[in-house]
Subunit: 128 residues, 2 copies
């Protein structure tokens, strides 16, 4: 099958299709799908939400613990969270009153891999 | 000095200020600066330009070799290249008629590092 596989959350299984962003010219379709993920990261509120979710001890966080960190309405926060979810970066589950969010680490692993130069030591290995 | 250092091309020396996007909640200022870089990547044409520049043998590419790959005008391509340059991802130099572009690999290394989970093996090491 030559078509790209798009996951249930709309993200592409990038490592199935691409040798990496820096190793060879990206195809048009891959670029469109990957740009959607980077666009989701291209907003300060979404970056902060993602880092709060990703760094939460226990691996998940209630939306009720996210909202107070921002001077924004609950619907605005929910809209940003939806964009992160549609980009395949996080997932969520409703439990009673609240929605709980967690990172989909395979998505950030994939981006890290795509941004890693082929055959080079990775930053984590070379930093003092 | 507690202020963020912003490089000559407008990008933040992220690894001087942040433990990583996934390890701890990002500060507001860091999020603003980092979002600018991800926003630059959040466009399919810019992603394709970046991958063409990054994967070019010899490490640099003439704008005259970039433009024919796109069904876009030279000014549009130049605008996208300017956005990548302002995000600190590439740099360029005019030589005679043409402008030559190259990747600033420390910028992509930094993003890869920020997207790498603390204490986890990296994708390049675990893939078959």
């Amino acid at each position: 099958m030559s078509k790209q596989e798009v996951g249930p959350l709309g993200h592409v299984a990038v490592d199935d299709c691409c040798p990496g962003l820096l190793a060879a010219p990206l195809g048009e379709e891959q670029a469109v799908e990957l740009a959607r993920v980077f666009k989701a990261l291209g907003d300060p509120v979404r970056l902060r939400l993602l880092s709060m979710i990703a760094s939460r001890e226990g691996g998940e966080i209630c939306v009720c613990d996210l909202t107070p960190a921002f001077d924004l309405s609950q619907p605005t926060i929910s809209h940003h969270l939806k964009q992160l979810r549609q980009a395949g970066l996080i997932d969520c589950e409703r439990r009673g009153t609240w929605v709980y969010y967690w990172l989909l680490p395979e998505a950030t692993d994939r981006l890290a891999g795509l941004l890693t130069r082929p055959g080079r030591p990775l930053p984590a290995e070379t930093s003092a």
